[in-house]
Symmetry: C2
Subunit: 310 residues, 2 copies
């Protein structure tokens, strides 16, 4: 008995038991989609317009096909209308802009998204700038980026918006926390750093934006209460870079070869989940974390666009 | 002799002699204005249009009068044309927007600035949004903010732009450095944090954006290679918050009562200069640091606007 007691004592000594909880993006997205579905059904009953998303897919990149299919399916689930415009991989920039302009002026269309990446003959910036900012539900147009930075009503890019919705859903207290964002892309890292530091809730974090030129990433991550990993390197964030009780959001989604899978690949996040999760208070899994929230955020943007115009 | 030697030894022991250098905004701004003057004279000789800035002053706030006068004077020094529109303090928002729209469509006007703050009956956001983004030389319009964030050609807000010009003028190596920006205003702190973290030179800093909700400001400042103080609290940044060899940029400019001055006030920065300067490699003074650079940056924006259109 004595030995057993001693063993138990030693076992607990020095070990902090973080109350680790999964930030379940799949369930949260489902709840958001169901709420939207109810709102859309209500609008239908009242004879009001239902949201209509137009998606454009140029060429037939495998990952893009998967993403577009998921977005179209999500529209159906929430009772939105959706239109998928497929264009050949050799489509000219002018032809694509033509299609966008038709959608811009079509009063039935509330949101327009062009699935990226685009073939090399098309300049992505020109395409994004051609979308009416008031239908730019991806939030990539400079007008929306500017409005977001200035705290004005804007379409927020779907991935950062989805993460903010997830933090909100789990009522995570962010004010005064130190957030480290890894990656400065225009569609994730940069807007994430802006939203987290805004005077809002969630928000009010002290935010450090890290990137490829950062020299002391591990040291900074070890200070972080919240880490958003958005650099696109599978299992980059290891346990020795994370402090006990941290909140970790994994934006990475890389296809890694796996012959045991029917598809030939599996999805890996930027976080070494198995070793990092035990140290965390909250962590998003991959898949089932940020991915589904991105789609839910896109639907929310499209819904908001619809109710603002109708 | 022996004692003297010993004394000398002790005197140097433990003291780090930072090669402190003043980042002289006044001189640097002067150099920029002279370069612009040469370019404008050259354009004149070639029969090309010279830059023309329109400034609008509503009411007669003392500080605003001073700033506007400095801007008009700087235009003269560089051979720019300038127009100052004075409007009564009880001017309506609609009337002000009317004036802006006339300037928007006047092909002779390259840049429009509305001196802030505005009287309470006028919504600043509506006014900024009324300015043609291609004449918005203050860089406050959402379109310019968005373009800046996305790394597209944009008018950068004059204060952060002026600071970047100052860092560039002194060839300060910023890549990989840790910059702490104190203050998240739309016109200084926020854009500063974005520019410093951009993949450009100067830029490529790891940037931590701090604000009123930050809980460990001193600890963060002590890690910083570069500190930008933009919170508007006189002499806030003390020596014990700054590490040896830091680069300190003081954006603060507060009028503090001083009966020994003819004006009745003196200007104080956000940095306790006398105690902080000895620890720094580089530091901006107040006055003569960021202030003159802000005006030089405004002239550069106006010049660039002119040559893009003519």
């Amino acid at each position: 008995m004595r030995l057993q007691n001693k063993f138990s004592f030693n076992f607990f000594e020095g070990v902090t038991f973080a109350r680790m909880q999964i930030l379940d993006g799949k369930k949260t997205a489902q709840a958001i989609k169901e709420e939207l579905k109810l709102n859309v059904a209500q609008r239908s009953v009242e004879g009001k317009k239902v949201p209509h998303l137009a998606a454009i897919l140029v060429g037939n990149n495998g990952a893009s096909e998967t993403y577009i299919a998921a977005k179209v399916k999500a529209c159906e689930e929430s009772g939105f209308r959706s239109t998928l415009e497929r264009m050949d991989s050799d489509t000219s920039e002018a032809k694509l802009i033509d299609v966008i302009q038709q959608l811009n002026t079509d009063p039935d269309i509330d949101g327009i998204l062009v699935q990226l990446p685009l073939p090399s003959q098309i300049n992505e910036e020109n395409i994004i700038n051609a979308i009416d900012p008031d239908k730019d539900v991806d939030g990539f147009h400079p007008v929306n980026v500017g409005r977001m930075v200035l705290g004005q009503p804007a379409f927020i890019p779907a991935t950062p918006y989805g993460i903010m919705l997830l933090l909100k859903h789990y009522k995570i207290e962010t004010a005064g926390k130190h957030a480290v964002v890894i990656g400065r892309s225009n569609i994730v890292g940069r807007p994430m750093s802006i939203l987290l530091s805004d005077n809002k809730n969630p928000g009010n974090c002290t935010v450090t934006l890290c990137h490829s030129k950062t020299t002391n990433l591990k040291e900074l991550c070890l200070q972080a209460d919240i880490i958003v990993a958005a650099l696109g390197k599978p299992e980059f964030l290891k346990a020795d870079m994370v402090k006990e009780g941290a909140i970790v959001v994994d934006v990475g989604i890389t296809r890694v070869k796996d012959d045991t899978k029917k598809s030939g690949f599996k999805l890996k996040g930027d976080v070494a989940f198995d070793e990092v999760a035990p140290k965390c208070n909250f962590i998003t899994p991959v898949p089932g974390g940020v991915g589904p929230m991105t789609i839910a955020a896109l639907l929310k943007n499209t819904f908001n666009s619809c109710i603002q115009k109708n």
